[in-house]
Point group: C2
Chain length 82, copies 2
Amino acid sequence: MKAKIYISLKDGILDPQGKTVEHALSVLGFTDVRGVRMGKYLELSLKPGPIETVKKSVESMCEKLLANTVIESYRYELEPEG
Amino acid sequence: MKAKIYISLKDGILDPQGKTVEHALSVLGFTDVRGVRMGKYLELSLKPGPIETVKKSVESMCEKLLANTVIESYRYELEPEG
């Protein structure tokens, strides 16, 4: 089973990396960009199991290690391995 | 209009960051994890425009700046700002 996890900074948290990318895009001529927020994307391969167990496990991973929940929010999708 | 861009390493490209996360998860007791691939996630706010123009623009940004297409692949979704 595959878990796709998206971690992004919460609204209102400064994102210097995003600002840098935004500036670089404008220098390259992409002037239609009004804002960039930078985040992390993880793909996890997991042993198959009952969906509720896997969900709890992924949430626990995010809370304990992957996301800093003070400043970051996360969402995830589960899908069959393919 | 909002563009969500997901950039991940192509298959076969070594991912030390992912390996480190995988190891950390196993140390924390998450032994069901068989693999982790680490990528980037960007949210762009864009001026509204014809969908085809926006698509071309986003693809151009990815090719020119955001993704290293030698080792990384990208995909994106467009959605109305909300």
